[in-house]
């Protein structure tokens, strides 16, 4: 299972790097979504993969009974997903705003904040 997840993470990262190298910023943020999922998977796998019940404490007991899953990475991944979701929503709005105000999605054409200096004229 670890090997499968490792390969999945690798494929996700490779795909996202390919996407992020594109000049089109929309592709870039799709790459960003994939790579953030890869990072979430890394955290998930870091907590070790064990076959266990959900870590819920039954009524009356002081601790979970039997084999339970590691709850910490799940909490971390949940947090990371939420944050990633917020950032993605923001980035998407920003890209749309860029498209309407700058009229382009190509990073090479985005030169308003840093205009090209005239070539030795």
């Amino acid at each position: 299972m670890e090997a499968l997840l490792a390969i999945t993470i690798g494929v996700l990262v490779a795909t996202s790097v390919y996407l992020m190298l594109a000049r089109n910023v929309l592709r870039f943020i799709f790459g960003l979504v994939l790579i953030s999922n890869a990072a979430n998977l890394i955290i998930f796998v870091s907590g070790r993969l064990t076959a266990g019940a959900p870590p819920l404490i039954p009524e009356g007991a002081d601790g979970p009974v039997g084999d339970v899953a590691n709850a910490l990475p799940q909490a971390l991944v949940l947090t990371a997903i939420v944050i990633g979701f917020g950032l993605f929503a923001f980035a998407l709005v920003l890209m749309f705003r860029a498209y309407t105000t700058l009229g382009t999605l190509y990073s090479d054409d985005m030169r308003i904040a840093e205009p090209r200096t005239e070539d030795t004229t």
Partner: protein
């Protein structure tokens, strides 16, 4: 104990809530000023406690470390919180005039205070994942601040800022995942303790490099700084000032924290890289600045070059060098935020920050000229201003460590900084205004003058105080460095339950 540590963290968020709910009236901006004044008081209280007890820690929710989230303040954290509060107060007063009602309605004050809360949180947390969360809080609010108003150049700069910072965030997150996989804990003190027992030390170094790149982007070091000069000159001046003063410094703080506390195993490798990075950052930053012709763009590139000095202190890793880095951090935040605030006043009076289009400020606004002179030449390292002592300590540390090349680079970059500062001085202040205008401060309403100049004067006074009596500050920086280089007290306080 809990109160002292948590108040500076909770206050900015309460301020943000109040300021946001009152954003349609004048009350919102005064909430921001008042909140930051209380924040300053709270942070000074924290500082007093830390000076008294060395390191203090508090466990949130009563969950003892390493299971819960720990807030911890040592000398470095405490001084960073104090300086954050000072900058925040200065900028919130400046923003009374600088930020128009439209931006206030969009929630400027709330975003600003959330940003401050994120910065304070990053300085105070003792938990790695919590550090990530504070970075995100900072990041989201800074995105908002950066594009608030929605000018074309803001959107353009914003895209570069957002994309590169998101990549850094994801690297940071992956690094946390791998570190957790190796040590089974997220508490930084606990990681520091258990990391030596990890079998695969090669993997530790790999993760260390991931953190170096992630924080390197945040700190804007060579070759990861390109987002900074693309974005920092576009938003409102208050926003630029607080970004310039605080944001990159959080990256530097995180580098210092991680590479003294956690990643101190393979120093020969990691800190050698940091030394190269430091030298190249200084040189590229200052050369980039020399090519620019706009006040804010010059100052943005100078942030990059100054970051190099702090990284240099960290890379040398001798007690004196780390003390130099701490001293430099404090001095730099005050000076840099102030310079951006002054650039704002220059634009308001002379009409632009482009050096070709302005001039005559010395003749018509001599007060502003003096106020510019202090931080600008402190930045360049003129004795006896604060920047001189900061550079002096660092160069002395380099020579002591026989790092002749880095010492030479530091001195050379200092010279080139003088070039940039004299360029601004000559163009904006000395030469007559190209359109024959008379950019006097009296064009501004008396109220605007108060709001704009009092924070500038206050920060300039701080520069002078540090400059004329550097001894207590250097002693403090040395104590902070001693704590950083020998983290036993930090680790025992966090884990020892002295809460």
């Amino acid at each position: 104990m809990t109160w002292t540590l948590a108040t500076p963290l909770v206050l900015p968020f309460l301020t943000a809530v109040l300021a946001f709910l009152a954003r349609y009236g004048a009350a919102g901006r005064w909430f921001s000023v008042a909140g930051n004044a209380v924040l300053l008081a709270a942070s000074i209280l924290l500082m007093v406690r830390v000076l008294d007890q060395g390191v203090i820690a508090a466990q949130m929710g009563g969950w003892s470390a390493p299971f819960g989230i720990t807030l911890v303040a040592d000398y470095l954290s405490a001084v960073m919180v104090v300086i954050t509060a000072i900058t925040a107060l200065a900028v919130s007063v400046y923003a009374l005039t600088d930020i128009d009602a439209r931006k206030e309605r969009l929630g400027y004050h709330a975003l600003f205070n959330i940003l401050i809360g994120g910065v304070v949180g990053a300085f105070l947390t003792g938990d790695l994942f919590n550090l990530y969360v504070w970075f995100e809080v900072m990041l989201i609010s800074s995105f908002g601040l950066l594009i608030l108003g929605g000018n074309k150049d803001q959107i353009d700069g914003g895209i570069k800022y957002v994309t590169l910072n998101l990549i850094s965030t994801i690297l940071f997150l992956s690094g946390i995942g791998l570190l957790y996989g190796m040590t089974g804990t997220l508490n930084m003190a606990d990681i520091a303790r258990t990391l030596d027992t990890v079998e695969n030390q090669g993997l530790v170094t790999v993760v260390a490099m991931m953190f170096m790149v992630a924080f390197g982007v945040k700190a804007a070091v060579f070759p990861l700084f390109f987002w900074l000069p693309a974005a920092y000159h576009t938003p409102a001046f208050s926003v630029s000032a607080v970004f310039a003063g605080l944001l990159t410094k959080v990256g530097v703080y995180a580098l210092i924290r991680m590479f003294t506390l956690v990643f101190d195993g393979d120093v020969a490798f990691t800190h050698q890289i940091l030394l190269w990075v430091a030298g190249l950052t200084m040189v590229t930053g200052v050369l980039g600045a020399a090519a620019q012709n706009d006040m804010r763009k010059i100052l943005s590139f100078h942030i990059v070059s100054q970051i190099g000095y702090m990284i240099m202190g960290l890379a040398l890793l001798t007690p004196l060098a780390v003390a130099g880095a701490v001293f430099y951090l404090v001095h730099h935040i005050v000076v840099k935020a102030n310079l951006f605030l002054i650039a704002g006043v220059a634009e308001r009076t002379a009409g632009s920050t482009n050096l070709d289009r302005i001039g005559g400020l010395y003749k018509s606004a001599p007060l502003l000229a003096i106020l510019f002179f202090i931080p600008a030449f402190s930045l360049a390292g003129f004795p006896p201003l604060s920047g001189f002592w900061a550079k002096y300590v660092l160069v002395a540390a380099a020579i002591e460590d026989q790092g002749w090349i880095i010492a030479a680079v530091a001195l050379l970059v200092g010279l080139l900084t003088i070039f940039s500062m004299t360029k601004i001085w000559a163009e904006a202040f000395w030469k007559p205004h190209p359109e024959g205008a008379d950019p006097a401060l009296s064009q501004l309403t008396p109220q605007a003058r108060r709001h704009l100049l009092i924070p500038i004067a206050g920060l300039a006074a701080m520069t002078l105080v540090i400059g004329f009596s550097p001894d207590p500050f250097v002693t403090f920086a040395k104590d902070a460095a001693a704590q950083l280089l020998d983290p036993t007290a930090y680790i025992t306080t966090v884990l020892g339950g002295k809460a």
